[in-house]
Symmetry: C2
Subunit: 154 residues, 2 copies
């Protein structure tokens, strides 16, 4: 849907399913930075907004049904229906607030504590997403995640 | 201006000066998550939006002149002047895009590379902010930052 180096020309709204955004680090490892499940929007906003090549990839994690809008169509929508500004204001405000909390957890919690936090707060999400992607989101190896899970069960 | 446990009742716009947002981690160390210089807004959006106690502190880093708006006044402003929705949509969109890139640097760059990136891209910012706060933003000790700087100069 989006690969590094492309301009992100679409903004995606998830009707059913799940998307993820990731990049490939210097070691060649995929690092997931965001997921979008039902009723979330996802794009690379910097690329979408400024029409510059993206530094991210976006792909579906499971069978996914999307609405998609192009940058020009979204501009047109906002121009002809200014009331939609309010809708998108809320969307970005919520996404920004979520990113702030994410930052706090990255710096404030150990990787293991971050996993337990995620598991306690969003159990359905953790159940639903393949474990190797949860590991990629938390920034550790699938092996280390298995270890933590085993430790918790025992 | 804001302490952990308080509800963030104001949204701040920096006319001149600089604010920072931080939290205190389990080891008692201040971790800075965001700065706001001229023409940026800053609050704890989660607390401001949902009127819940904040997990952050906000304070001025230098002598700062601000505009401040309360949550109720901002709601009123948006209600009576819906055109302002567009303005705030851009504000949050920009802040969200910046947070996405920040996340990429946190995961994708070593702490040292992150410092050099910041220094290359925002030299005036790095000059302006006290070094111990740059260290607090990058997530390492002031001593380690001095070391990196010394290494670069030599």
């Amino acid at each position: 849907m989006l690969s590094e180096g492309q301009v992100s020309r679409s903004n995606y709204f998830v009707l059913k399913g799940c998307l993820r955004k990731f990049f490939i680090n210097e070691k060649g490892v995929e690092q997931t930075t965001e997921f979008a499940i039902e009723n979330w929007w996802l794009t690379d906003n910097l690329s979408y907004e400024h029409r510059v090549p993206s530094e991210f990839f976006i792909q579906a994690v499971e069978k996914t049904t999307l609405l998609t809008i192009s940058r020009d169509a979204q501009d047109q929508l906002l121009y002809t229906h200014p009331k939609m500004e309010r809708y998108f204001r809320f969307i970005y405000q919520r996404a920004y607030a979520a990113a702030q909390m994410r930052m706090k957890y990255i710096f404030g919690l150990s990787k293991e504590a971050f996993y337990h936090h995620l598991n306690d707060k969003y159990p359905e999400f953790v159940q639903r997403i393949p474990q190797y992607l949860i590991a990629s989101f938390l920034g550790f190896t699938p092996e280390y995640l298995s270890e933590i899970r085993a430790r918790k069960i025992s």
